[in-house]
Amino acid sequence: MAKVVRKKAGPAKRKAPCAMERVKLARDAKRPHLRDFIANIFDDFEELHGDRLVNDDRGLVGGFATLDGTPVLVLGHNKGETVEENMAANFGMANPDGYRKAMRLAKLAERFGNPVVTFVDTPGAYPGREAEERGQAEAIAKSLEFFSTLKTPVIVVVTGEGGSGGALAIAVGDKVLMLENAVYSVISPEGCAGILWRDGSKAPEAAEALKITAPDLLKLGAIDEIVPEPPGGAQNDRAAACALVRAAIVKALAELAPIAADELVARRYARLRAMGNFY
């Protein structure tokens, strides 16, 4: 029997939630989703559709908007509050068409000097027949390559579930912010538990072992900054949560704006290059 590293929740009220508690918060249906962030943070949002190849993916949406008068491109995984909304948004799981749309719009942003802000909240890329036939692997790979060289500032906000490759595909940027109770992982705790524990119910142990919370990821250097949430979690006060996210984005934009595009791209590479170099 493996030793369980999960700390028992103590009696102290201010004790930080354990990894699995954060997973539950990150998946809370009442948590602010893309449309809340768009409505509360930006002005003048105009959605743009389609990858110009086969489809308009609903799991990943994008459009231009302004932030304090600065025009920006907003991209994000699309989740909803109700089952109906989630069905329409494919539960925030993007198809290859979604990633190709994201690249198409980001190329426009680069051409016209618009910073890009991405909102990451997905269980993962959609595992479907057509998704594979249209090259889910290729679309994610291309997106990683594409954003690593994009000559405009890219700010990433992990707002809920950062589900492996499907999340990472729009999470290569200059500044990666993460909400206090969001999670970001190479595999879902349930998936990991099913494989390494041979028991999906061991997800809390897997969540702890994988180190998927914002404080852990900050220590590992995978993210740059934690955005605090209202007491008890973002679901308790969505407007306040959006305001905190807005302030973090505004600050990041101000930091990145003076940096020349080539320097920005060089730093973005250096940031990735330092990850997991232990030798």
Partner: protein
């Protein structure tokens, strides 16, 4: 990602001591010596089975030209990861002892049909060819050395995906390697990606699918999500040839399916076309 360790996904290969080999694609039985003599290719269905990294290097690099680099780069247990079956450190050390490799990819400079190249070969026997921080680091360094020495880059992939024992930094290797590959291409150098059986999850969704040409071998398994995950999501049975080399070629994601006996000559020919 990481479903390489799932019991039901493992090919039905008999224990090491058994005399019989069973083709995981057509289930035909043959003596192990026959399988080996045929270079791990099924005489019945032409499935091109797995080779060790060293076997692949011997069949790809010109004799005596392969010089290994970055062998000092190995795994990292920064999470002190352990699960119900034990410690990651114990498992990976056992893998290192068994395979004699320091990571799931072996990297080196060599000549291929007379053309100088940087060659990386993944070994599925090393933790299911999973993408660890060491794997990603070797690839990034190889890209940088390839640029410095003007060498085309050739990588043979064989992987179940990211290595979950190394957590988020394993995932980040997908971005790191893809960014490094982008720089190889920007430097005007070609990247030839050979996706061998199997190439799935986080490896197919990063460098393996980023070849200027993507090539593969007959009947190789290539995909992003696992078949079972997809079937459970869409509540449909998938066709038998789903995620096969032939299926991917039909759908436009593979340039060519190349037989193992022709692989080296094919790569050399492409490098010659591109003046390398």
């Amino acid at each position: 990602m990481g479903w390489f360790e799932r019991k039901d996904e493992k090919p039905k290969i008999p224990p090491a001591k058994a005399l019989w080999a069973i083709c995981p694609k057509c289930y035909s039985h043959m003596e192990k010596s026959v399988w080996k003599a045929n270079n791990a290719i099924c005489p019945k269905c032409n499935y091109h089975g797995r080779l060790t990294a060293r076997e692949r290097i011997a069949q790809t690099a010109d004799a005596g030209t392969f010089a290994e680099v970055f062998r000092e780069v190995s795994y990292s247990d920064h999470l002190a990861f352990h699960d119900a079956t034990g410690d990651y450190k114990t498992k990976v050390e056992a893998t290192i002892a068994k395979t004699g490799e320091s990571e799931s990819i072996v990297m080196g400079t060599c000549k291929i049909g007379g053309h100088a190249a940087m060659l990386g070969v993944m070994d599925f026997a090393f933790m299911g060819g999973s993408l660890g921080t060491g794997t990603g680091e070797k690839i990034a360094r190889a890209c940088e050395q390839a640029i410095a020495e003007r060498r085309p880059l050739v990588i043979f992939s064989a992987s179940g995906g990211a290595r979950m024992h190394e957590g988020i930094l394993s995932l980040m290797q997908m971005a790191k390697t893809s960014a490094a590959i982008a720089r190889v291409k920007e430097a005007g150098l070609p990247f030839i990606s050979v996706l061998t059986d199997p190439t799935t999850g986080g490896v197919s969704a990063s460098y393996a699918m980023l070849g200027d040409i993507n090539i593969t071998e007959p009947r190789a398994l290539i995909g992003f999500a696992g078949r079972r995950v997809i079937e459970n999501t869409i509540h449909q049975k998938l066709p038998a040839d789903f995620q096969s080399a032939e299926y991917l070629e039909k759908h436009g994601f593979i340039d060519r399916i190349v037989e193992r006996k022709d692989m080296k000559a094919f790569i050399a020919k492409m490098l010659a076309f591109w003046h390398f």
